[in-house]
Symmetry: C2
Amino acid sequence: MFSKTCEYAIRAVLYIAQMSKNGDKVSIKSISKGIDSPEHFIAKILQELSKKGLVQSLKGPTGGFYLSEQSKKHSLADIVRAIDGEKIFTGCGLGIGQCSEEFPCPIHNDFKMIRKKLFDLLQKTKVNEFNNQLEMQLAFLKKNHN
Amino acid sequence: MFSKTCEYAIRAVLYIAQMSKNGDKVSIKSISKGIDSPEHFIAKILQELSKKGLVQSLKGPTGGFYLSEQSKKHSLADIVRAIDGEKIFTGCGLGIGQCSEEFPCPIHNDFKMIRKKLFDLLQKTKVNEFNNQLEMQLAFLKKNHN
DNA sequence: ATTATAAAAGATATTTTTATCTTTTATTAA
DNA sequence: TTAATAAAAGATAAAAATATCTTTTATAAT
């Protein structure tokens, strides 16, 4: 559904949201362990998210990543859009460039509905809304949650 | 959503379904033009679909691709499964290997619902059900449909 | 039988995605 | 004000997906 980069991105932001909720900053090493992703790879991804204002960061000792009040209110859709672009929300299910209402692919309408559902879900879901579930271990961001 | 390979595969099968509905066979060249895909690439994809019994073929003059009575009844889900595998129907939205009811990722339930909708749609849609729409130019398999 | 046709098979090339490594810059603490 | 820390930036590498090219095999028409 999403690129691997995007999956890591979402998991990272949810992890940062939870770990930084009391003003702490979270290091790449911690993130990488917390979501079970390659350290250098997630570093690159966070660089990108940082440039686009979806996460904040500070260099140096006690530095790391955190979320501004604004960033906490971002939706999963914002992250997906920043990494994978609009295509997943608007593109044709069969990859036809000019698929449209006027010249639809055979599954145009069915897909439109599914994509809309996906978008609505991602749009309404904010990055800080899982903090408690994550803390209480009712939801997980990696496979080995021990 | 799907790999490009899979998008081509679906378009090719729908094209074959329509073009071969009266017993004709369809050449790779015709398919490639009809769905606007690289000729050698779609040849490879059809080889795979042929091996898996999703399309039939015959070599030599007057040869080409067609669909057996059985193949006409296949669903889009069958094609997706043959090319992209099960992952899109069952995999975790955030790419967590062991995501499950017991140890769910944060968006587990929402995604389960969307994936189910996607699967149901693809499962109930048969490859020959667009023949008329395609012929009447109410639906299209490529961008330049002139 | 021979030739032409069209898919199958196998090999290779290109591009994109994913991942890693090294150097630089900013910040803090001692 | 120096040393340590941690992210940013830039370069490189590996793997996977996409695309192309060549040779072989099966079939049909002559």
